[in-house]
């Protein structure tokens, strides 16, 4: 029965090239065998017992795997038999796809596994166990579980009995150390290896800092940080403003384009509809124009025709008047007055001639009878007087008759003229009256038109349309105002909600931080207490007991409190060992709980606390991350909603702006139409007023004319009357004068006759007296007769002229006045006619102008429509722009457009040009903006090289959304979190790593202490083996340390709210520094190419070995120390020391009742005495050596077990024990 726990035996059943081998190894064992005989296979199987790790056995990847090489059959078994104080049990390893373990509560019995030289299948083996009532465990399915059982770390108590030792949490180091020693076949022992072993012994894999992960995280952080930095660059923020401006301009241009396209579509349809109707209207107007022109022409011809006769009459009258004047002048020149007067004297001359001739005849006939003579003379005189009297009477009568005739004639002429005047007046008056009534009717029409104009609604269609638009805008404004109010309220409430959420999160965060801090303070306090205890434990009772009374825990530990245990003043001393009394009083402590703790327990507790701190830190980061994420998600949600609403608001505002512009435009248009309407009304009213005025004037003038006409008529009649009266008076006077003349003549003649009678009387008397003849008298008579005859002859000569004169006078001179008046009348008639025609002409001209104006306006609008349609057809329809807008243009409803088709086409083209120019800028800005970011930036500002218009717009929309939702804050929060987490993770990992430093130093101390025992006193081969640790030279570690230190100096300060906050300078500096540190770390990791930072990187290890006269100095690797044998020996010593230290570190201090194997292959070079010393050295440390030797030598005699490897006839390897007894050490 073994007094210790040890791997007693290893049995191979159908393993590799062995059918069956049973090898006892419960001591130092030596395997002798040439190469490829299975030494290493066996050693590996032993190692597998300790490591239970198929991968850490030094099998190269090119070789078969452990499972495939060892367990080739279902009935392949490796049996490990373990001897304990209580008995022997074994572990069977077999394969059923994967490897399984089963603990069996009995020594290995071959019959249980092999029947009739045939290995049984695991099931059959279990049957055998059942048959023999042998207890066995459940199938252990994992290596971890197996290791836990073997190393006594399994929580299940039923497996406690199968433990080889009672390992602590670090028991993994033992298999690792054994594996490391086995695997380090190289001849050089590097400090690295020892460091690794130390590290493995004191830490687990969890303490390793995976640089790959950190580097990845750092890279991600750095990239994201860079992205955000790029985002905040001045030129980028300017560029993004430009992009957003461009985008909004482009949107507006698009909106404008849509509206213009709609307008154009409407205008086109309107134009097409209007083109026909306007054409018809224009034709109607044109017809009317030509009609009135024709009418006017006819009227003009008629008027001219009418005037022609009158003019001819006037011409005739004028020529008569001219002729009359001429003849008058001719007659006057010829002395017509005298001639007339003389002609009137002709009868008198004829009478006087007769008388003179009679007198002459009488005088000349004889002087017979004087009496008779005288009587005849007297008779003749009397006859002459009577004749004269008769002539004069007839002359007076003639005069009287002529006077009456003349008077009658004058009165007749007057009456005629008066009648004529009256007649003419009546005609004129009638004309005027007719004109007046016409004008009055026209005036009525005009006033009706005035009323109609005043009531007329001009451009009603346009005005109604505009008013409808305005009403619609007003309605929309109302709706929008309420929508804006609602939306602003929504934004306010969202803002409040956001503030509330932030505040709530802030409070929660503060509370959490406070709680976390408090917990940390409490834990740190506890750690401090433990540290205090641990720092003084060696000087206190605790340390004393640990050193001098290893089992104190079960006794003193149950009755002693910590205060006493860690009291330094007790000065303990060991008086007598193993007395089970307390100051002489025996106590049964079996049922008493142990109150005190072991050093490991304190360390474990401390580790637990540290872990708790790490957990708290981690929890804090987790909390912060979760909280920030939650906050961001909720705030982001609110931001999104808010941005959405803001977008809607801006849309509404934009619409409002557009509507305001439209409204202004509509109002302007409305005003313009109204103004036009009013202008037109005014114009028309003005025309009407003018017309009215003209009419009024005309009426007044007509009235005036009528009055004047009456006055003229009256005046003319008066004048005529006056003329007549004057003429009558003149005639009367002339008659009176002629009458008086006749009377005077009569009187003169009477007087003459009387004188001649008296004279004749006197002559008679004288003749009678003398009787004689008187010839003077005859001569005188002859002269008188001759002069009378001359006068008569002259009269005769001028008789024709006078007759002509009289004719002319009758026909012309007397009618001259009549002609003049007739001419005046006719001229007046022409004037009146001209005047009447002039009014008509005026009316015609006005109407013509109006019609021409209308036609021109219609033609203009027709031209406008036609030109517009032509322009559209020729210059717009074939453009790509039209194809793009076709759906909008063709879908529009007909509507009048002030701008016109050409204008709209131009505007659309200009809009499109502007759009393209803006888009060019927009695209360049986006390219430049996106180009500043990494191609795969996390902010997602990416644009493809061949991006389409839509993609650019999507980019801008995303940018807009990014700003609206303030997504950068989310990014910053994430980056800040990753920054904080990175620093925390690095710091906590570093802390965990550095925590080991004390233990490393302790380990190194222990090793050195152990080495001091390896001086092989008997041979004095090794004077000393020294070990020392130095600060690490690892650059990455230094950077990590810096970060950790930074974290210590700035707890809870870094990376909280905003890494990019420029407001808080000191915080900004801290953030900057922390980012720099991380960047440095990333750079260093990239430069140094380390994959991880392990415990071994915390320090540098130096050896110093003095062997004989050889002093290596402080070296990093032990290459060769002395001869090959010495070298190997030294290395073996180091290995064993290491293993010993690891075992001590990894197992419960109280029970060191087990042995492990240290497998070192190829030890053939060590000399026998040294090997002996080595075996002793190992033995002192409860370590059994398993060594391999290629050949048999004397060395094998120093081992407890020596086996030789041979192959039998079947090629199976047979392990043959050479010596079976233990030799004396």
């Amino acid at each position: 029965m073994e007094s210790r726990r040890i791997l007693n035996r290893i049995i191979f059943i159908n393993i590799a090239n062995t059918d069956y081998s049973s090898i006892e190894i419960a001591g130092n064992t030596c395997f002798v065998g040439t190469n490829n005989m299975g030494k290493t296979t066996l050693q590996r199987a032993i190692l597998f017992f300790y490591s239970a790790n198929t991968r850490g056995l030094g099998i190269s990847p090119s070789q078969k795997s452990f499972e495939d090489y060892y367990f080739q059959f279902p009935n392949s078994y490796i049996i490990y038999e373990i001897a304990t104080e209580e008995g022997v049990f074994h572990v069977a390893v077999y394969r059923n796809n994967k490897l399984f373990y089963r603990f069996v509560e009995s020594p290995f019995v071959q019959d249980h596994y092999i029947v009739d030289s045939e290995a049984l299948l695991p099931k059959a083996v279990l049957g055998k166990f059942n048959e023999n009532k042998i207890g066995y465990s459940d199938q252990i399915e994992t290596f971890e579980r197996y290791r836990n059982i073997i190393y006594g770390a399994d929580p299940d108590k039923k497996y406690k009995k199968f433990a080889l030792m009672k390992g602590n949490a670090n028991y993994h180091n033992i298999p690792l150390a054994i594996t490391s020693i086995f695997l380090s076949s190289e001849s050089v022992i590097r400090a690295e290896f020892v460091k690794e072993c130390i590290a493995n012994s004191i830490s687990s894999k969890h303490t390793t800092i995976e640089l790959k992960t950190i580097e990845r995280q750092l890279r991600q952080f750095a990239e994201r940080y860079h992205d955000i930095e790029t985002f905040f660059r001045k030129e980028n923020s300017q560029r993004s403003d430009l992009i957003r401006d461009n985008f909004s301009q482009l949107q507006q241009l698009k909106v404008k384009q849509r509206s213009l396209a709609g307008e154009l579509g409407g205008a086109l349809k309107y134009a097409q509809a209007q083109k026909e109707s306007v054409g018809i209207q224009a034709a109607v107007k044109r017809d009317e124009l030509s009609r009135i022109e024709q009418e006017y022409l006819e009227k003009e011809v008629a008027h001219q025709e009418r005037n022609k006769d009158v003019n001819q009459e006037i011409g005739a009258l004028k020529s008569k008047l001219r002729e009359s004047d001429k003849k008058q002048r001719d007659y006057e020149e010829k002395g017509i007055v005298d001639l007339l007067r003389e002609a009137e004297e002709k009868p008198q001359l004829l009478v006087e001639l007769q008388a003179r001739e009679n007198e002459y005849a009488t005088l000349t006939a004889g002087f017979s009878d004087t009496e008779q003579q005288f009587k005849t003379l007297f008779d003749a005189l009397e006859n002459e007087r009577r004749e004269l009297d008769h002539v004069l009477s007839s002359q007076a009568l003639q005069l009287d008759k002529r006077f009456t005739e003349e008077k009658n004639k004058i009165q007749d002429a007057y009456r005629k003229e008066e009648a004529e005047i009256k007649e003419r007046h009546a005609e004129e008056s009638d004309r005027f009256k007719q004109l007046r009534s016409e004008k009055e009717l026209e005036a009525k029409d005009v006033s009706f038109r005035e009323r109609e104009i005043k009531q007329r609604k001009y451009f009603e269609k346009e005005v109604t349309l505009l008013k409808d638009h305005l009403a619609e805008i007003a309605k929309k404004r109302m709706e929008r105002t309420s929508a804006l109010t609602v939306k602003n309220n929504m934004i306010d409430s969202l803002k409040k909600e956001g503030d509330h959420i932030r505040e709530r999160f802030r409070i929660t965060s503060e509370q959490y931080v406070e709680k976390n801090k408090q917990e940390l303070v409490v834990i740190e306090e506890k750690i401090k207490v433990i540290d205090d205890k641990l720092s003084i434990h060696q000087d206190a009772l605790f340390g004393f007991l640990q050193e001098h009374y290893p089992t104190w825990y079960e006794t003193i530990g149950k009755v002693c409190n910590e205060e006493i245990l860690f009291n330094k003043e007790l000065k303990p001393s060991l008086t007598k060992k193993n007395i089970d009394t307390l100051y002489g009083i025996g106590l049964d402590l079996s049922n008493v709980k142990v109150h005190s703790k072991t050093l490991e327990e304190y360390e474990q507790e401390k580790a637990g606390y540290l872990e708790k701190i790490a957990e708290l830190n981690h929890a804090f980061l987790e909390f912060r991350e979760t909280q920030a994420r939650e906050e961001q998600s909720r705030i982001g949600g609110i931001g999104k909603k808010s941005a959405h609403i803001k977008n809607e608001i801006s849309q509404l505002e934009y619409e409002a702006e557009q509507d305001t512009q439209k409204e202004k435009q509509y109002e302007l248009d409305l005003y313009e139409w109204q103004r036009k309407g009013e202008a037109l009304r005014e114009k028309e009213l003005l025309e009407v007023y003018n017309h009215q005025q003209t009419l009024k004037k005309t009426l007044e003038s007509l009235k005036q004319n009528l009055t004047e006409l009456d006055a003229v008529v009256n005046k003319n009649i008066q004048k005529l009357k006056a003329d007549v009266a004057e003429k009558v008076e003149k005639l009367g006077k002339s008659f009176e004068r002629e009458n008086a003349n006749v009377k005077e003549q009569r009187a003169e003649k009477e007087e003459e006759f009387r004188e001649r009678k008296e004279k004749l009387q006197k002559e008679k008397s004288a003749v009678l007296k003398k009787k004689g003849i008187d010839d003077t008298r005859i001569k005188k008579l002859r002269t008188d007769i001759d002069s009378i005859k001359v006068a008569l002859k002259e009269l005769e000569e001028n008789a024709e002229l006078i007759a002509d004169y009289r004719k002319d006078k009758r026909e012309l001179f007397d009618k001259a006045e009549e002609f003049r008046k007739e001419k005046e009348r006719l001229e007046d008639r022409i004037r009146q006619s001209d005047k009447a025609f002039g009014t008509e002409k005026q009316l015609f001209a006005a109407r013509k102008v109006q019609l021409q104006e209308d036609v021109r306006a219609l033609a203009e609008s027709l031209k406008k429509f036609t030109d517009g349609l032509d322009h559209f057809e020729n210059h717009f329809r074939d453009r790509i722009l039209f194809d793009r807008l076709r759906h909008m243009i063709e879908g529009a409803t007909a509507e009048y457009a002030e701008t016109g088709i050409i204008g709209l086409c131009s505007q659309l083209q200009a809009n499109d040009n502007e759009f393209h120019s803006q888009f060019e800028k927009f695209r360049n800005n986006i390219t430049e903006f996106a180009g500043r970011f990494r191609p795969d930036n996390h902010l997602n500002f990416k644009i493809g090289a061949q991006a389409s218009e839509v993609e650019y717009e999507r980019f801008a929309a995303y940018l807009q959304e990014f700003y609206n939702e303030n997504k950068i804050q989310t990014s910053i929060a994430e980056v800040a979190k990753s920054h904080g987490m990175l620093i925390d993770a690095i710091s906590s990992k570093m802390k965990a790593l550095i925590e080991h430093k004390g233990r490393i130093n302790k380990m190194i101390d222990k090793m050195e202490h152990d080495f001091s025992k390896a001086s092989f006193e008997s041979s004095k081969l090794i004077e000393y083996i020294k070990l020392k640790s130095e600060d690490s030279e690892n650059k990455v570690l230094r950077k990590l340390q810096k970060i950790s230190e930074f974290r210590e100096q700035n707890p809870f300060l870094y990376g909280e709210a905003n890494l990019f906050n420029q407001n808080n300078k000191s915080k900004g500096e801290i953030d900057r520094r922390s980012v720099e540190l991380l960047n440095d770390l990333q750079k260093t990791i990239a430069e140094e190419k380390y994959e991880e930072i392990r415990v071994q990187d915390l320090f540098e290890l130096r050896f110093r070995i003095k062997e004989g006269k050889n002093d290596t100095g402080w070296i990093e690797k032990i290459d060769r120390v002395g001869s090959t044998g010495t070298d190997m020996l030294v290395k073996a010593v180091i290995y064993i020391t290491l293993l010993n230290v690891f075992i001590k570190e990894s197992t419960e201090k109280t029970a060191r009742n087990f042995s492990v194997h240290c497998i070192i292959d190829e030890v053939g070079q060590i000399s026998a005495p040294y090997l002996k010393e080595l075996i002793n050295f190992a033995g002192e440390r409860n370590i059994c050596l398993i060594n391999g030797l290629p050949n048999e030598s004397k060395l094998e005699t120093h081992y407890n077990y020596t086996y030789k490897f041979r192959k039998d006839q079947h090629g199976y390897v047979k392990v043959i024990p050479l010596l079976t007894m233990s030799i004396e050490p």
Binding site: R233, T927, G931
Partner: protein
């Protein structure tokens, strides 16, 4: 001289090679450093002692030298003539060389295959056999001069320094006899 930025040697190393420091390149940090507060003036003064004049363009910096041998000037002019042709090539593409534009060599090569004019231009610029190599060569030349930057194996990005080329090209006047001269 105490305020000289600590990255001055890095800056000098780049600029003294005739290269540019653009704000949108991987050396954007150095751009920021030069652009920071009075650093430009300080560095200009500092570098003036080395015979170089630190010049500022639109978002890029470079060195100029006042006294250069004619031979070097001639070489530079020759080089410039080549850059003009290269710029002409890139400007003839669908995607114009705007700052920040990312070109993929394969994409350019594809465009060259489908556009005869581009094809002829690139044949005049490079004698390499494969189209991709031709494009790579000219992109590489622009990269070497600091006008482009290679982001990955296939992607080149247009730097702010391209403005320098544009500015110089815009300064070129074509005289009556048709000879091109670059005004000093």
């Amino acid at each position: 001289m105490n305020n000289i930025p600590k990255h001055t040697p890095d800056i000098f190393a780049i600029l003294s090679r005739g290269n540019f420091i653009s704000s949108n390149g991987s050396k954007g940090k150095l751009f920021d450093i030069i652009n920071y507060e009075d650093n430009y003036t300080i560095l200009k003064e500092f570098f003036s002692h080395t015979g170089y004049t630190l010049e500022r363009g639109h978002n890029y910096f470079y060195f100029s030298q006042t006294d250069e041998p004619n031979l070097i000037i001639e070489k530079k002019l020759e080089q410039f003539a080549y850059y003009i042709d290269v710029m002409d090539f890139f400007s003839s593409m669908d995607n114009k060389p705007v700052v920040g534009t990312r070109y993929r060599v394969t994409q350019i090569a594809e465009e060259c295959f489908s556009n005869e004019r581009l094809k002829q231009k690139i044949y005049a610029l490079s004698r390499r056999e494969k189209m991709v190599d031709k494009v790579g060569e000219i992109a590489g030349d622009l990269t070497a001069a600091g006008f482009f930057e290679q982001e990955d194996e296939d992607t080149y990005k247009v730097m702010d320094a391209i403005h320098y080329l544009e500015e110089v090209i815009s300064l070129i006047t074509i005289e009556d006899d048709g000879e091109q001269t670059n005004p000093q």
